[in-house]
Symmetry: C2
Subunit: 272 residues, 2 copies
């Protein structure tokens, strides 16, 4: 509990800055450890998802700024046990690595308190991804946790994301409106960040212009085909950081996760 309490007291921007410096890395590894995709050799463990995550962490932690489990792959009794064990393991052995719950949550205000309790207080994540559709007031239970990171979906990497996110509102696309609202009105505790997919480098450039040095989580490198050079060129902030580049399947399900993580960390740093 000592380490965990220490993590909870540190502001997310300080934790990010310290870990970027220490690991010389902007790499986030997505622990999308879907039970039917992990190697069969882990199935004999009483907690296969945790055993797999622990192995990935030990293979890759040297190169890593953050770990980001997607909660879609942990929504069961055994999944939550694996998630608890994964977070406890990180808190104990790698307390300076940033932890992001990729949950994309949003509910009405009082209900969000349930998510805040489980994700921040019980599991001890440093940050969470959130969906903006219900608005600022609904998300206050997250945003008012001043030290925790609130990473708002802006322009996602998936096919068909343009259906609503590119609609024109007040002379600009909805994703731009979201970036402006978050940057100008939601960020009073400096704990907001945005999600912009790697498949949209021109969007990344415009969002960077709007939000200054606010960190941006960039998924879509690797399996989804985003261009790393374009992401770095358009996404870095004034201090040559400010982006968190996520890769999931292309690292964790590769033949050699340690090698893949190191190569990607070095490619990122070469472009910086």
């Amino acid at each position: 509990m000592g380490q965990k309490a220490w993590i909870l007291r540190m502001h997310i921007l300080d934790k990010l800055a310290q870990r970027i410096e220490k690991a010389n890395s902007l790499l986030c590894i997505g622990l999308d450890s879907r039970l039917d995709k992990i190697p069969q050799s882990f199935y004999s463990d009483p907690h296969p998802q945790f055993a797999f995550n622990r192995w990935i962490i030990e293979q890759t932690h040297t190169y890593t700024l953050a770990y980001k489990p997607n909660l879609a792959f942990y929504e069961s009794v055994s999944g939550y046990q694996a998630l608890e064990k994964t977070l406890a393991y990180l808190h104990e052995y790698h307390p300076d690595i940033v932890t992001i719950a990729d949950a994309k949550r949003a509910d009405i205000g009082s209900t969000n308190e349930g998510y805040v309790h489980s994700i921040f207080d019980e599991l001890g994540f440093d940050a969470i991804t959130l969906n903006p559709y219900l608005g600022y007031t609904a998300l206050l239970p997250f945003l008012e946790r001043k030290e925790k990171g609130c990473i708002i979906l802006c322009r996602t990497s998936n096919v068909g994301a343009d259906e609503f996110q590119n609609l024109i509102v007040e002379d600009r696309p909805l994703w731009q409106y979201v970036a402006e609202r978050v940057s100008k009105h939601w960020n009073q505790y400096h704990n907001c960040m945005l999600v912009v997919g790697a498949t949209q480098p021109s969007v990344l450039k415009q969002v960077r212009h709007i939000v200054g040095d606010m960190p941006i989580l960039v998924p879509g490198i690797g399996a989804q085909g985003g261009d790393l050079a374009a992401v770095l060129l358009n996404g870095l902030d004034s201090q040559k950081r400010g982006i968190i580049i996520n890769a999931s399947r292309s690292i964790i399900f590769s033949e050699n996760p340690a090698h893949q993580a190191q190569v990607l960390q070095q490619q990122i740093n070469a472009y910086r």
Copy 2:
């Protein structure tokens, strides 16, 4: 498993219609069974949330079309155990009552398969609430489960929902655009529904005009202050049904849940 398999094969619209007929009810009870809000007398049970839910179900099932646990209050090992037990209990003893996972999920396509597996296949819910921000293509893993209900957030009941949902896109508010997209392009398997808060009866009227007889889930009665008469007047479809009226805290945390549920069922039917 026999009963569960039967539930999975029936289309959501048929299950809704049969239960509305049998129970003469449009009432959905939200099982927002937050552990620190349930009566202390349940704490001695090894599964307090399940024991509370079972008691609520036994008190209220006669008057109920659907039960809707909000997953925000079950995001833990013990919470998932309670959720599994609650769903198994409903499948065994009340298989004709509709079950809705109030999850408000949305991720990129392949990730949504994780949610589909846990919520539809493992827990056996009949329907789920979804957030539209990532678009139709992302949500296909849900929508392609032809027999399952996909309940898309349109205009939510919370304070501040207007921040994005009321933005004008192509000469109409975003919530209207969402209703049109879902009604005209997402609903090929007739398994889509919408969420419109009870606090917005004029919106409900316009959405009903757009979507024909598509069912609409209406939260916000009770604790959130929505006007029941206005909801019924504006929300009923051509067959005097088509709305699912949810009440959560005002029933489950009342002195007498059975009485509260019966009174609300009768009020709803009086306005029908």
